[in-house]
């Protein structure tokens, strides 16, 4: 393929992946999924009943993989009947969002009902207001992942099938969302009642912030906060993964010659080394800026 065309396609894939990453993280913040949900789940048991949507269908990677695989399979079947790819991808994403919405509602009911003995109420208005938002984010995530997967299959001639690529990217976006954006929700938003940067003492577990800027805090308040940093950061991470892992083989095309293939490997390793150095710089800067939490006892004794 023309290098310029494949660069354009890759840019489109990167853009779609960035949106997918951001919406994936915000979806998990509205519904409270994955690791930070352990605190939402724990709070009523520590006598802190709350008004936060508590779904946690499963860990984020499997739940996103399920969504994307359902969407990919539906789209794939529709395309074999002659439907246009855009229509097929949209209908696939709608089906995936509907399935995800069903799981969200049942898991909210199940999780909240199981905490009746801790006086955790079930808010029906929360279901009416949050579930469409969750489904909306799920639709955006699935659609963008399907766009990435479809472009890989149809334009870049990737040998894997559309549902399989959608499944793999679903796992990847979930893993990235749960390792990056969720930290902003779990370590900062849920615990704004402790001083910024003081660390979260394990003794505070379950004592999540339950009051909002106005009224009681709910999942939509959380996504409002996380949309400022956690969501976009997740988007950048997933966009970078899709873009960089494709960029090395687009620029150094292995189908031209084997030497080019090895150059693509070297380019990839160079990128990883750059990221190691960048990480080290952040580490040093953070240590200098924040300083230690305690003084060195050996020095004090001397």
């Amino acid at each position: 393929m023309e290098p310029l065309t494949s660069m354009g396609v890759l840019a489109l894939m990167g853009a779609a992946a960035t949106i997918a990453g951001a919406s994936e993280d915000l979806e998990s913040d509205v519904g409270s999924q994955s690791n930070p949900n352990s605190q939402v789940q724990l709070a009523p048991q520590m006598m802190y009943p709350h008004r936060i949507y508590n779904k946690a269908v499963s860990g984020e990677p499997p739940s996103n993989a399920l969504m994307c695989a359902i969407g990919g399979t539906t789209a794939s079947v529709l395309m074999t009947t002659g439907a246009s790819p855009i229509l097929a991808l949209i209908i696939g994403s709608i089906v995936a969002a509907a399935v995800h919405g069903t799981y969200s509602v049942t898991s909210y009911f199940g999780r909240s009902a199981s905490q009746k003995r801790f006086k955790q109420p079930i808010y029906l208005d929360l279901i009416r207001s949050h579930t469409p938002v969750i489904m909306g984010y799920a639709f955006i995530t699935t659609f963008c992942i399907l766009v990435v997967s479809y472009l890989m299959v149809a334009v870049m001639a990737h040998p894997f099938s559309l549902p399989l690529l959608a499944f793999i990217w679903g796992i990847a976006v979930g893993a990235i969302g749960s390792s990056t954006g969720d930290v902003h929700y779990g370590a900062e938003r849920e615990f704004q009642n402790v001083e910024f940067g003081s660390g979260l003492n394990a003794a505070n577990s379950g004592n999540i912030v339950r009051k909002a800027e106005s009224g009681l805090r709910n999942g939509i308040d959380n996504s409002w906060f996380c949309a400022k940093f956690g969501g976009p950061a997740t988007g950048i991470a997933f966009g970078m993964v899709v873009f960089l892992s494709g960029w090395i083989t687009v620029v150094f095309d292995p189908s031209i010659s084997e030497v080019m293939g090895w150059e693509s490997i070297i380019a990839g390793v160079a990128m990883v080394l750059l990221m190691v150095m960048w990480n080290r710089k952040i580490e040093v800067d953070a240590r200098n800026a924040f300083g230690p939490y305690k003084s060195d006892e050996e020095e004090v004794a001397a």
């Binding site: 040998p159 660390g199 950061a233 090395i248 990221m275 190691v276 952040i282 953070a286």
Partner: protein
């Protein structure tokens, strides 16, 4: 009737290499710094997600790049190298952006609670661990350990994929690739789950004392992957 013994005898090298790929994945998972749920609350060093999920996310990204490479070239070295690099890029990006969140979003410097000095940078660690936590963020030792671990995972995953595609059978190419890739993903999960019993939720990387337990998991992976490889080779070779 499928000639099971004949298929196993013909593809014994493939079975051995698939098993070796599984062992590499198992070893690689031990090196990835996962903090599980506590890390998502900045209460443990490492990336804030589960072992299996992170390893699978990285390894499968490697599988996608390896699959792409295999479409363009027959060179085994290039296929496994691209799988390795794809997984390394995924984990490096994830850890780097995770680090942004810990430093700029939560305000905690990266620190390990398992060692007093970072084995690579020799930086003092214990003073930077906030009260009541087991460390936070991703110090350089954990970062490098994670990159190596994901690289091994990607290497193992793409080796499995490559040797599954080397089995002779009568399937059309698209079906063959579909079955081989699904089987490679399945074996990846098997070998990502086995070490997670060793890790028990959190591990910081090669400097973590838990890392010393890896021989048991590697042995378990060897047995599990060997049996799975025989089944896979017979199933695919008999088609």
């Amino acid at each position: 009737m499928i000639d099971i013994v004949g298929i196993i005898a013909d593809d014994f090298l493939n079975i051995l290499m698939i098993t070796f790929g599984g062992v590499l994945i198992s070893l690689g998972v031990h090196l990835v710094p996962v903090g599980g749920a506590p890390a998502a609350m900045a209460q443990a060093t490492g990336v804030g997600t589960g072992t299996v999920q992170l390893a699978a996310g990285a390894g499968l990204t490697g599988l996608v790049t390896a699959g792409f490479m295999m479409n363009a070239t027959d060179s085994m070295g290039l296929v496994v190298a691209s799988g390795t690099v794809g997984a390394m890029i995924m984990i490096a990006v994830t850890m780097l952006v995770g680090q942004w969140l810990y430093v700029y979003g939560v305000g905690c410097p990266p620190a390990s609670a398992k060692v007093k000095y970072d084995p690579i940078t020799k930086d003092r660690q214990d003073l930077y661990v906030s009260q009541g936590t087991e460390g936070h963020g991703i110090p350089t030792a954990s970062f490098i350990s994670g990159v190596i671990g994901a690289g091994l995972g990607g290497l193992g995953g793409s080796m499995i994929y490559f040797y599954l595609l080397s089995i002779e059978n009568g399937l059309p190419e698209a079906d063959f690739i579909g079955i081989a890739s699904i089987f490679a993903i399945g074996l990846f999960f098997v070998n990502a789950v086995i070490p997670s019993y060793n890790i028990g939720g959190t591990i910081e990387g090669f400097h973590d004392p838990k890392f010393k337990r890896f021989p048991k998991a590697v042995f378990a992976s060897l047995v599990a992957t060997f049996l799975a490889a025989i089944m896979g080779v017979v199933a695919i070779g008999g088609m």
